[in-house]
C-alpha cells in the first residue's frame, strides 16, 4: 500500500481531485458548479424551522453554507485526514474562527513566537479586544510550552514550517504537552500543505490554512479553512463550556453532545461564521477547488526547485546563511525528515551580506522574482520581511520571528530553476554594489 493511502481507501492524489465532488444527483455536472446565490428556498415554514434549529441538513444562507464552499471544505478535511472543515474568507479569518469556538473572555493561549508577522499582531493586539491573551513561546524546545502554561490556557497554536524562516516544530511533542493540559493543539499548515505534512496524524487537533497560498496555488483567490480532527475529547477536558454546556447563542443547544466528533466544526460554523461573518465567496471556493486538483504535482515541483535554489544560495559568496530545512546545515533537518519526508516546502529565508540596505537592494533588483507580500504562488516571490510583513513588530519580535534586517524571504515557484538562479545571482550582485 502506498504511503498516500495510509488512512483512507483512496490515495491523496485521488482525493485531491474527487473528495467532496461526487457528481450532482440531478444534473450530473462533473465539475463542482459555482453556486452563486445568497439564499436557498425552504419547502415550508416547518422545513425552515428545522434548518435554523440545525435539526436537518440543508442550506439557508451563503454566509453559513454554500454547495461550492462545502465541496471545498470536504476536500480539505479529507486531505488533512480530518472529520470536518469550515472555510472562510482568509487565513486570518480561519485563525479567528479557530479560537472563537474555544475562548471565553479572560482566557489565554500559547503561541509559537515564530509566526507570520500579521498573526503576531492579530494575537497580541486585536485578540486583546476579546479579552483573550496570548503568551509567545520559543518553539525550538517543546518543553518551553509546558513551562509557559497557565490554568487559563485553552489552546496551543503553532505554524509548521514557520513563515518566514521555515522552523520545523516538533508537533508530536507539543501535542503531548497540550493533551496533558487538557487543551487542543492548533497547527497552521499553510506552508507545508497536507501533501507534505498532516499535523492531525501527529496529534494536532485542529488545523488552519490560508488557502490563499499553496492550496489555491495560483495567487488569484483569498480563502481560509479550519479543519477538525474529531478526536479531541471536549467532555473529558472539562475546560470548554462552549462545547459541552447549553449554548445561549444557539437556544441552549449542546454542540458536543448533539454533533459528537464534528461538534467543533458545527459550533465554528453555526456560531463563529454566523456571528463574525467572514464567509468565503463561492467563486473563490471554485478557484481553490480547481487549484487543489493539481496540488500534488505542483508541490513536487515547488520542493524540487526550492532544494536547488537553497543549495545554490548556500554556496553563493554574497549570502551569509540559508534557513532551509532541506539543507543538511539546517538545525531542523532531522525534524523535517520526520514530519515532511517528501520535502521541506518552498518558503524560506537567507541572509544577505551587507544587512538592511543590501537586503532591500537585492529584493528590488530582481527581474523574474515578484516583489510582493504573498507566498505559495506558481510564480517565484521575494520579500524583505523587516520592511514589509514584519514591519509592525518591535525589533526584538522581528529577530525572534526570524525577520532580522539582513533577511530576505523567498517563495519558490514553478519556473525553470536555472532562470531563478540567474535572476538571484544578478540581484545579489546588484545588492552588493555601493
Amino acid at each position: 500500500m502506498s504511503e498516500s493511502k495510509k488512512n483512507d481507501p483512496f490515495g491523496f492524489e485521488t482525493r485531491a481531485i474527487h473528495a467532496g465532488a461526487v457528481p450532482d444527483a440531478v444534473t450530473g455536472a462533473r465539475n463542482v458548479p459555482i453556486y452563486q446565490t445568497n439564499a436557498y428556498v425552504f419547502d415550508d415554514v416547518d422545513h425552515a424551522a428545522s434548518l435554523f434549529n440545525l435539526q436537518t441538513f440543508g442550506y439557508i444562507y451563503t454566509r453559513l453554507t454554500n454547495p461550492t464552499v462545502a465541496a471545498l471544505e470536504e476536500r480539505v478535511a479529507s486531505l488533512e485526514g480530518g472529520r470536518g472543515a469550515v472555510a472562510c474568507a482568509s487565513g486570518h479569518a480561519a485563525q479567528l474562527l479557530a479560537f472563537f469556538a474555544l475562548m471565553e473572555p479572560g482566557d489565554e493561549f500559547l503561541a509559537s513566537r515564530n509566526l507570520y508577522g500579521g498573526s503576531i499582531t492579530q494575537f497580541v493586539h486585536s485578540f486583546k479586544k476579546f479579552d483573550w491573551r496570548v503568551h509567545l513561546v520559543d518553539p525550538r524546545d517543546p518543553e518551553n510550552f509546558r513551562k509557559a502554561l497557565t490554568p487559563k490556557c485553552k489552546a496551543i497554536f503553532a505554524e509548521q514550517l514557520t513563515n518566514p524562516s521555515a522552523v520545523v516544530v516538533d508537533l508530536e511533542a507539543i501535542a503531548t504537552i497540550a493533551h496533558e493540559a487538557g487543551i487542543p493543539l492548533i497547527v497552521d499548515n499553510t506552508i507545508p500543505t497536507p501533501y507534505l505534512c498532516r499535523p492531525l496524524e501527529w496529534g494536532a487537533d485542529i488545523v488552519t490554512h490560508s488557502m490563499t497560498k499553496f492550496l489555491g496555488g495560483h495567487g488569484t483567490s483569498m480563502g481560509g479553512v479550519v479543519v477538525e480532527s474529531g478526536k479531541f475529547d471536549w467532555g473529558a477536558s472539562g475546560k470548554f463550556p462552549s462545547m459541552t454546556a447549553p449554548d445561549p447563542a444557539y437556544h441552549g443547544l449542546t454542540f458536543y453532545e448533539t454533533f459528537g466528533d464534528f461538534g467543533y466544526t458545527m459550533k465554528t460554523r453555526a456560531v463563529g461564521l454566523r456571528d463574525l461573518g467572514p464567509a468565503l465567496s463561492p467563486f473563490n471556493a471554485f478557484m481553490i477547488l480547481t487549484g487543489i486538483e493539481s496540488l500534488p504535482v505542483r508541490m513536487e515541483r515547488h520542493i524540487e526547485n526550492a532544494q536547488k535554489i537553497a543549495v545554490f544560495l548556500e554556496a553563493h559568496p554574497s549570502v551569509t546563511w540559508v534557513s532551509y530545512p532541506g539543507l543538511k546545515s539546517s538545525p531542523f533537518h532531522d525534524l523535517a525528515k520526520k514530519y515532511m519526508p517528501k520535502g521541506a516546502g518552498s518558503v524560506f529565508t537567507f541572509g544577505v551580506k551587507g544587512g538592511y540596505e543590501a537586503g532591500i537592494k537585492t529584493v528590488e533588483a530582481c527581474n523574474l522574482f515578484s516583489h510582493l507580500a504573498n507566498v505559495g504562488d506558481t510564480r517565484s516571490l521575494i520579500l524583505h520581511p523587516a520592511s514589509t510583513t514584519h514591519r509592525q513588530l518591535t525589533d526584538e519580535q522581528r529577530l525572534a520571528a526570524g525577520a532580522g534586517p539582513e533577511v530576505v524571504r523567498l517563495s519558490i515557484g514553478l519556473e525553470t530553476a536555472e532562470d531563478l538562479m540567474r535572476d538571484l545571482d544578478l540581484a545579489l550582485a546588484a545588492g552588493q554594489r555601493k
Binding site: 457528481p23 462545502a70 454533533f259 459528537g260
Partner: protein, 165 residues
C-alpha cells in the same frame, strides 16, 4: 488522549443495507425537548420517510412530533424494524432483550453508546448491530447531505450521487 467516539469500522454497504430495509424505528430514550439530540434525530428521520415511535417511560402517553410515546418496546402495537437507543451504555442490556423479544431486525446504539456483551447477544439472535453511531448522521453521510456542512463523508465516486430511497 482517549478516543471515546471513535468510529467503529462498519462498511458503507452494511449501513446502507440497514437503512434501506428499515421503515419503522423505535427510539428508546426519545426526548420531548426540542434541543435534545434524540429530538433532532427523530425529526430528521421523519422528514426522510421513516416512522419513528418514541419509547420513554417518563413521557409515556404523551406525544412527540405527532407520535404517541410508549413506556416500553413491548407495549408498541406495530412491528419494529430497528431499535435506536438513546440511553447510557449500562442501560442497554434489558433494551436489547426486549428488542429480541419483539422481533426487531436491527439494534442501533447512538454516539457514545456501546455495550459489547449485549451486542454479541443480539447478533447471536440474528439481529444486526451498530454501536456508537448516529442514525441521522449516517443517513446524512451516505445520502450526501452531511457533506453540505463540510463534513468528510469519505465518499469518492465518479457516478452520479444516488439518493437513499
Amino acid at each position: 488522549m482517549s478516543d471515546p467516539i471513535a468510529r467503529e469500522s462498519y462498511s458503507d454497504e452494511f449501513l446502507l443495507e440497514i437503512l434501506k430495509s428499515t421503515r419503522i424505528i423505535a427510539m428508546v430514550g426519545a426526548s420531548p425537548n426540542w434541543n435534545r439530540p434524540s429530538f433532532f434525530a427523530m425529526k430528521y428521520l421523519q422528514a426522510k420517510g421513516f416512522r419513528v415511535i418514541p419509547v420513554n417511560p417518563a413521557a409515556a402517553g404523551q406525544e412527540i412530533l405527532g407520535e404517541k410515546v410508549y413506556g416500553s418496546l413491548k407495549d408498541i402495537p406495530v412491528k419494529i424494524d430497528m431499535v435506536d437507543i438513546f440511553r447510557r451504555s449500562d442501560a442497554v442490556p434489558p433494551i436489547v432483550d426486549d428488542a429480541i423479544a419483539i422481533g426487531a431486525r436491527t439494534i442501533w446504539m447512538q454516539l457514545g453508546v456501546r455495550h459489547d456483551e449485549a451486542a454479541s447477544k443480539a447478533e447471536r439472535a440474528g439481529l444486526k448491530v451498530v454501536m456508537n453511531r448516529c442514525v441521522k448522521i449516517e443517513f446524512g453521510r451516505l445520502s450526501g447531505e452531511l457533506s453540505w456542512s463540510g463534513i468528510n463523508s469519505g465518499l469518492i465516486s465518479a457516478k452520479r450521487r444516488r439518493l437513499i430511497a
